[in-house]
Symmetry: C2
Subunit: 344 residues, 2 copies
DNA sequence: TGTGGCGATGACAGCGCTGTCAACAAATTG
DNA sequence: CAATTTGTTGACAGCGCTGTCATCGCCACA
């Protein structure tokens, strides 16, 4: 077996393959990217050489030369949170089969880190960027706008999108949550929340508005730290102390709801008999819990998918943005066993 | 304000900055990468131009020229599973401050997809690769070995690492789990498992061995599909039908354990009074549940961190691998309320 | 047999950046 | 004051690939 010359990094290059196959570099490139342009004869010879050298194309060189990277950037606030897992899956399900590479960065729920993540991302020349939320810094907005690539903000709706926007009205969802509990006859309500996540605040706004309209006092117990199951338990403890008469809780998310429910069980507070609990997001754990937790379902997978669809359309088409710059995917109240009518 | 010429993609290049600042391109490059080499005067002029143009360096061109990408590749089987969230955090915590970029790909628990993820990754010329598990395909192994970059397999131990290996003995952990339940006096044991994840099988092996050594029948109920809380409930139902005399369950992971526990509560089976439940991984939900679930804690964050440390050492040093190619980080049994002595 | 058309292949330049070395001025030394 | 060192800056080539155009043979048709 012939020993081809290797480049510095020790890996075979297009030229190495070309030498071995006795063709020009361009031909190798074509075999790999538009095989139909090359005769079957040469194609085979080239592919044999490719296998022989275990050649892997250098994406960076390719991107530099063609100014197409095949990359889509996604920035989420957390990898651990199941909410974003579904979202990412929606994106992957469309983009990966379409030959795109999804590059993810984590902002850790901090606008500052999000900004640097966006800059980093832009340096990789993605063909589009998908963002979580609408709270980007001025700097970040400017960089994004200048880049000219499609930008999709997701998870919430805004009047002033950077480019395109897919999501749901977080405050409407909060409003809907409160409404549900009011309809069940509850008058002593409390929300528990970890407004570390900006969207939590918007949900609280809706909640507050609904209660105020009904003449019910909108009580809230919250701590500004990352949400967790355990935090749900802690907040429930605090709530019981401060507002012992509460009969129904709206939780900022399902983790808090589960934690609150566990704490109720620990303290012998019957759910839903003595206390109704409503979650948010409708993660798997809400529906599987005992008692099953009512929740507001958010279209996470669908948001990811819709974003991917739009991007594919733009990238494949002439780069034209679609007519509708904003899509409201709504939410859905899922009634389960943890919320029940108040028989006071 | 002067209007600099822009390149095709519409973004400013190093040359545009150089033109505006009336210096050469090399100087701009130096200002950005080794500012101390440039006089304060020029440095300021250049930085002004950089800001003015909102210049973002093209990483691909930089990587191509310097053959250093500053990228670390990580391939995990799932983004949704909390297990890998902790792991990724461990990696990020070290690599990001060190100026590296962590690129993640998802294999969806499928060796075939993992292989293509590895190939894709290699095309991006990462400076090191971190893999989950040790079950890579032959092709993938070969490509990895040829690449010459540091490769770290994690989460389990293997006799034949591709390069380096950090993890714990999954079968020892399974053994330890069984041992714990035996010590508590249980003799009617059952494992429930979703061996979709290869490591689950190794845990079962250890479990089986421990029981066989003690002359206890190693019963197992399993379905080969992705694990979830709900699956835990389903498997518990199946177990109760097939092995109603069971008094203690070893669950392949904490999600299954939680689902099994919910199902017990649904059916009025007292935990731990009538049924002991032991989880695996010690995710947050295990400790926060009611009753709190005993579990085998795995050093996920530490594995990520250790992998990052080793890579940093190699990349910064001369590229030399450390003496010890394999690190066993062990596991720890966390006793909580869901497992109790059997008073039969 | 001559001419046009077509598909297949190659030569060449250049994407945006960095490594290397040369050039030069200022500072230091004997 | 000449010789040398030190510190800054620039010119140039090239990383590995692809877009573009030129070239070459071959066939069909007249």
């Amino acid at each position: 077996m012939k020993m081809p010359k290797k480049n510095i990094s020790g890996r075979a290059t297009l030229n190495d393959v070309a030498t071995i196959a006795h063709v020009s570099a361009v031909t190798v490139s074509r075999v790999l990217r538009r095989p139909e342009m090359v005769s079957a004869d040469l194609r085979e010879r080239v592919l044999k050489a490719v296998r022989e050298l275990a050649y892997i194309p250098n994406q960076m060189a390719s991107a530099l030369a063609s100014s197409r990277t095949g990359r889509i950037g996604v920035i989420v606030p957390s990898f651990t949170n199941g909410v974003f897992g579904d979202f990412l899956r929606g994106i992957h399900d469309l983009m990966v089969p379409a030959g795109f590479q999804v590059v993810m960065l984590n902002s850790n729920y901090m606008p500052g880190l999000e900004e640097s993540a966006i800059i980093t991302m832009l340096g990789q020349f993605p063909e589009a960027i998908i963002l979580t939320g609408t709270g980007q810094t001025k700097q970040a907005r400017r960089a994004l706008e200048q880049s000219g690539i499609p930008v999709i903000q997701t998870f919430e709706l805004t009047n002033r999108p950077i480019d395109m926007n897919i999501g749901l009205s977080q405050s409407d969802a909060g409003y809907g949550a409160a409404e549900h509990l009011l309809k069940l006859g509850h008058r002593k309500l409390c929300a528990i929340s970890a407004p570390f996540d900006a969207r939590s605040l918007k949900r609280l706004e809706g909640y507050r508005q609904a209660l105020t309209e009904s003449g019910v006092e909108p009580r809230i117990v919250s701590v500004d730290e990352p949400s967790s199951i355990w935090l749900g338990s802690r907040l429930l403890v605090e709530m019981v102390e401060r507002f012992p008469e509460t009969t129904a809780i709206f939780c900022g998310n399902d983790n808090l709801a589960l934690g609150a429910m566990f704490e109720c069980q620990r303290r012998g507070i019957a759910v839903p008999g003595r206390m109704s609990i409503l979650g948010f997001n409708d993660l798997e754990l809400a529906g599987s819990a005992y008692p099953a937790i009512s929740s507001i379902a958010t279209p996470r997978y669908e948001m990811g998918r819709a974003a991917a669809e739009i991007i594919l359309e733009i990238v494949r088409g002439s780069g034209k943005r679609p007519e509708r710059r904003q899509i409201d995917l709504g939410f859905k109240l899922i009634e389960r066993d943890s919320t029940a009518a108040w028989r006071g």
